[in-house]
């Protein structure tokens, strides 16, 4: 089960890098293909569409996606390392408390980027572009940030207590 979980997170880590590469490539291509993109948008939404704003917004979204690769990589790597300690039989080590903190900061980074994404989506929606279901704040995500920081503190305290108990006769 743990090995499957570790494999899954390893695959997610690779996907994360892949998406970062794809977003980077699309961002770069949006420069030479800007006119093609603008023509496509005008054909879809009509000549009144503010295509410059739409293209700028799409570039922002791609940039935010690229930035998100960093905290996601931190998060996934920390989880994989924690799973390794569980497999080794002793997860209650100080390093895992630090990893939980790192996960907390990574989640906070993701939430902040998500907020910025929401601003871009809101701006984009005002141009009349079809945004599908739109964007809404991820309250569960913000709660997860707080929860993970609390868990990190609990883990650190528990590890210290366990260490003390280890040398208690």
């Amino acid at each position: 089960m743990l090995r499957i979980a570790r494999g899954l997170f390893g695959a997610l880590r690779l996907l994360n890098i892949l998406f970062g590469a794809i977003f980077s490539m699309l961002l770069v291509l949006s420069v030479p293909f800007a006119d093609t993109l603008a023509a496509h948008l005008r054909a879809k939404y009509g000549p009144a569409m503010d295509v410059e704003t739409v293209i700028a917004a799409v570039r922002c979204m791609l940039a935010l996606g690229i930035l998100a690769v960093v905290p996601m990589q931190v998060l996934l790597t920390a989880v994989i390392r924690m799973l390794r300690t569980v497999e080794a039989g002793d997860p209650f080590v100080a390093a895992n408390a630090h990893r939980l903190q790192a996960i907390g900061w990574a989640l906070l980074g993701v939430q902040l980027l998500d907020g910025a994404f929401g601003v871009v989506v809101h701006r984009l929606a005002r141009t009349g572009a079809n945004m599908g279901s739109g964007w809404s704040p991820a309250l569960a995500g913000w709660m997860a940030v707080v929860l993970v920081f609390v868990l990190a503190r609990v883990f650190a305290q528990g590890t210290a207590m366990r260490d003390e108990l280890e040398m208690t006769v």
């Binding site: 003390e164 040398m167 208690t168 006769v169």
Partner: protein, 77 residues
């Protein structure tokens, strides 16, 4: 003020080895070694009681407090 463990001296007085004490008090030899070598961070009252009952001594006979930095084990100087 470091706590000094003088278990060696108490064992010598009783003519008992650490292995024999381990069997009597039902505490592992590893844990008693940790205690004897001054590496223990804490000792449970139940452990102290068991050791004192077997050795026929008081806690002060196997534990002491001295001046100076770091703990050390008497009998190894």
């Amino acid at each position: 003020m470091p706590v000094v463990v003088t278990l060696d001296a108490a064992l010598a007085r009783r003519g008992m080895t650490l292995t024999e004490l381990s069997a009597e008090v039902d505490i592992t030899l590893a844990n008693l070694s940790i205690l004897k070598t001054g590496k223990a961070k804490a000792i449970r009252f139940s452990t102290l009681e068991a050791i004192c009952q077997v050795l026929g001594c008081q806690p002060g006979d196997i534990l002491g407090v001295t001046e100076g930095e770091g703990s050390h084990v008497q009998g190894l100087d």
